[in-house]
């Protein structure tokens, strides 16, 4: 088993022991979306218009919830130090932890989106497109988040700073993601936007682990 897969399995096992890590972002996502139906209008026609924004902002904020602990928990109990000292490439360890974060939050949020979308009046025909867009978008969000989490590793109570760092970087994902969802709801082709979301994910996949690895090294000093 390579190092990154080892880290991925360990983090998934830990999440399984503490199911709250998976459940809380999902509940948050659902509540935020439902607050819109209560606060704005119960009319499905109007809700459908704001559904893309609600879905994506909700997913974006929900994926932020567990970011703060991504590296901090391991740094506090000393296991991060040991991982870095194992002689394995730090970028691979970061990638493993980020992959675990996506499986724990990004994937469940994606799978939850049709349910929330249904409450916002999104037609069933739009669901496959929305699922694809969110699956690609949440990959980027986890990677960008890992970068922010590693940068705020040395900061006490870095939660707010973390959001301030990652949210601007997540703007392109939000724009293309919401556009893809809009097109899916309108029943138009969304392949082009999905390509753009995919390329953002690839870009993040290439650069974020390296940046986060450097930041983790500094954070441990």
């Amino acid at each position: 088993m390579s190092a990154w897969a080892g880290v991925l399995w360990r983090d998934l096992r830990l999440a399984f022991r503490r199911p709250g890590q998976v459940v809380h972002p999902l509940a948050f996502f659902a509540v935020v979306a439902l607050l819109f139906t209560l606060g704005y209008t119960p009319e499905l026609g109007k809700l459908r218009q704001i559904a893309p924004g609600v879905l994506w902002v909700g997913a974006l904020l929900a994926s932020q919830l567990s970011l703060d602990g991504l590296f901090r928990e391991d740094a506090e109990d000393g296991t991060l130090e040991q991982m870095v000292l194992s002689g394995q490439p730090v970028a691979a360890l970061v990638l493993g932890k980020t992959a675990a974060h996506w499986v724990i939050t990004g994937l469940p949020l994606t799978l939850m989106a049709p349910v929330v979308g249904f409450a916002l009046g999104v037609p069933v025909a739009a669901m496959p497109g929305i699922l694809c867009a969110l699956a690609l978008g949440t990959v980027s969000l986890s990677l960008i988040g890992a970068m922010g989490a590693s940068l705020t590793l040395g900061v006490r109570r870095g939660g707010v700073l973390l959001s301030l760092l990652t949210l601007p970087l997540a703007v392109p994902v939000l724009i293309f993601g919401a556009r893809a969802t809009e097109l899916a709801i309108a029943g138009e082709g969304l392949t082009g936007v999905l390509y753009l979301l995919g390329s953002l994910a690839v870009l993040a996949l290439t650069l974020a682990p390296l940046a986060a690895a450097a930041a983790v090294r500094i954070g441990l000093e």
């Binding site: 088993m1 360990r10 109990d77 000393g78 040991q82 870095v84 002689g87 000093e221």
Partner: protein, 231 residues
């Protein structure tokens, strides 16, 4: 100003360092922020020897150990290992050492065996030998009794024993130990002595930051005293 007293019982013969696994520290300078913690530090540790780092609280014992394993960037000086210069952050060098900090590096929600198994994955022990390596390490550290308990449910002394099992997991010639005997009872202390002696006999080397007597024979033990004078 920082003053060092170093009693070196190792012969200063340039050629001998090439043949043996000697760790040398040359003119090391370390700062925390703008404040110099250590400067102009020289020493060498030969295989089969334990260097005990002494010094008042805040004199830089932990800082020195963290710099040796590459967690801290050094502000000056160099390290040599097996006669050649070495970069402490290089994976090759890091595979040669084990570092144990103040607190045992354990994940509370994983069992002791799972913690060790993960450490074995990280150290690159092949899958088939992993289970065997983990149980051997637990036996050696006398921690097999609580192998299946969650690390969070252990007492401080038990956690320390599991940390000792981490030391035994993969053979690495350099052991860097920060306060290895805190929280241990007398049998635990004897265990640390036994483990270190065994390691020294396998011509490993140990750098330990502790004020407690590790019970090692004086011919295997060197001392490095870090002391701080008011500037």
């Amino acid at each position: 100003m920082v003053r060092f007293t170093y009693t070196n019982r190792y012969p200063r013969d340039a050629n001998s360092t090439v043949r043996y696994k000697v760790l040398e520290v040359i003119d090391l300078t370390l700062c925390r922020g703008a404040r110099p913690v250590l400067s102009g530090l020289h020493f060498a540790v030969a295989p089969g020897r334990c260097l005990q780092v002494l010094g008042a609280n805040g004199s830089g014992k932990t800082t020195l150990l963290r710099a040796l394993c590459g967690l801290l960037e050094i502000d000056g000086g160099a390290f040599r290992w097996k006669g050649g210069p070495v970069e402490p952050r290089s994976p090759e060098f890091q595979k040669e050492l084990v570092y144990l900090g103040h607190d045992p590096p354990l994940k509370g929600d994983l069992s002791v065996a799972e913690n060790l198994r993960f450490a074995a994955v990280m150290r690159g022990i092949p899958r088939l030998r992993r289970g065997e390596a983990v149980s051997a390490a637990l036996r050696e550290a006398d921690a097999s009794r609580f192998a299946d308990r969650l690390a969070r449910s252990l007492s401080a002394g038990q956690r320390r024993r599991v940390a000792l099992a981490l030391l035994c997991l993969a053979p690495a010639p350099i052991w860097l130990l920060d306060e290895p005997v805190t929280h241990l009872d007398t049998t635990g202390l004897a265990l640390v002595t036994r483990l270190i002696e065994g390691h020294l006999q396998r011509s490993g080397l140990v750098i330990a930051a502790t004020h407690q007597d590790l019970g090692l024979p004086s011919q295997a033990r060197d001392e490095l005293v870090l002391s701080r004078r008011a500037a």
